[in-house]
Symmetry: C2
Subunit: 222 residues, 2 copies
């Protein structure tokens, strides 16, 4: 099946305490978003790439592409109010009967194995979400009560979350709810069972300055 | 109340793929364990420090103290089969009617605020456990089923977990269970309500080579 990748770069970067939006922050001399696009272009050279970007950043992005001589083909879609709305805007550019992976722009360290594994499982079973084990102790908090929970019963969710495009588009016809923190949760609310696949621990989401330092350190290793 | 700190350095370092146990790995030219001890000695200069170390590492530790001219006073206790058993061995050296904080040797980046906050709350209410918010999406897994959960209802647990020594010692009279992944869970099984206090996000547990890189990057900032 034909493959599409929607890279969601809708963040405004307020958590980075920085004037530069986080998807444009430099990692080894290049915007985070370019690293992320390159990883998908290397892993799935035939896939079509769609970048969802806040409209007010379009000109900045084009200037960065010129500055860094960035030539990987991609289409742009406009960012929405929430992640749900951004993905919905990206889906408009995806045809029926293909596979679509939705990925966070702020996760440049996704591995080839994670990408390939998620697309393969989605092709077979309709959807796939990469997860990793929880390495810290967890406590559950409800109001004033809190109790220990068994971390073996939980997984940390990553991206790319991959889907048959028809299925995902149908799920996105449902009205937005604040519980939709990722794309799997939208599909789940539509009644589908979610298939988990193995992610990679380095596939962190860069949301704070310390995450950026970690990402730099991890890239130094490779 | 008189304060004691038990620093649990029982790990054998197998997860680091390294011949050097993780508590002895060098961070900015010094074993991780020394950084951790220094943080407590700076924050609570009057506290007594107890290090729980596997017995076969005692001579290596003494050699490292000589090499690094490390002179912060501390007592040694023998590591046990699990964390529970290690802490129990350390508690033997703690008198009644004082406060005791149990801390992971592999968390050198604990902040002064986290330490002071946990000891203060424990002095007032009997116990305190530092936690931070969960920044990733979570899924719950039971057998073949998995579902989205609201990460707002969960917290990541850190150390130092602080207690009235009498209360903790009584709780540790209970027989060991595999669910005892930290000290708060032992106290909870004894029927006590656990008080949560704010931890600090940098207070990571160094368990992999990538954590060591992150810790180095974070220390560079300070």
């Amino acid at each position: 099946m034909k493959k599409y990748v929607i890279i969601v770069a809708g963040g405004s970067g307020t958590r980075m305490n920085s004037a530069v939006p986080k998807q444009f922050m430099e990692l080894k001399g290049k915007p985070v978003l370019m690293h992320t696009i390159e990883k998908f272009a290397d892993t799935l050279p035939d896939a079509k790439v769609i970048i969802v970007l806040p409209e007010q950043l379009t000109n900045d992005w084009k200037a960065l592409c010129t500055k860094h001589d960035f030539s990987i083909a991609h289409e742009l879609a406009a960012g929405g109010e929430t992640r749900y709305h951004s993905v919905k805007n990206g889906l408009v550019l995806v045809p029926d009967a293909c596979l679509v992976g939705i990925h966070d722009a702020a996760r440049p360290l996704v591995s080839k194995e994670t990408i390939l594994g998620a697309f393969e499982t989605a092709e077979k079973w309709g959807n796939a979400t990469p997860v990793v084990a929880v390495s810290d102790s967890l406590r559950s908090v409800r109001g004033k009560e809190n109790t220990a929970v068994d971390r073996e019963h939980y997984r940390i969710v990553q991206t790319p979350q991959c889907f048959h495009s028809d299925l995902l588009r149908k799920a996105f016809l449902k009205e937005y709810k604040p519980e939709f923190t990722d794309d799997a949760s939208v599909l789940e609310a539509f009644g589908e069972k979610i298939n988990l696949v193995e992610g990679n621990r380095e596939n962190i989401k860069i949301t704070t300055p310390q995450d950026l330092l970690l990402a730099e350190a991890l890239m130094q290793q490779h």
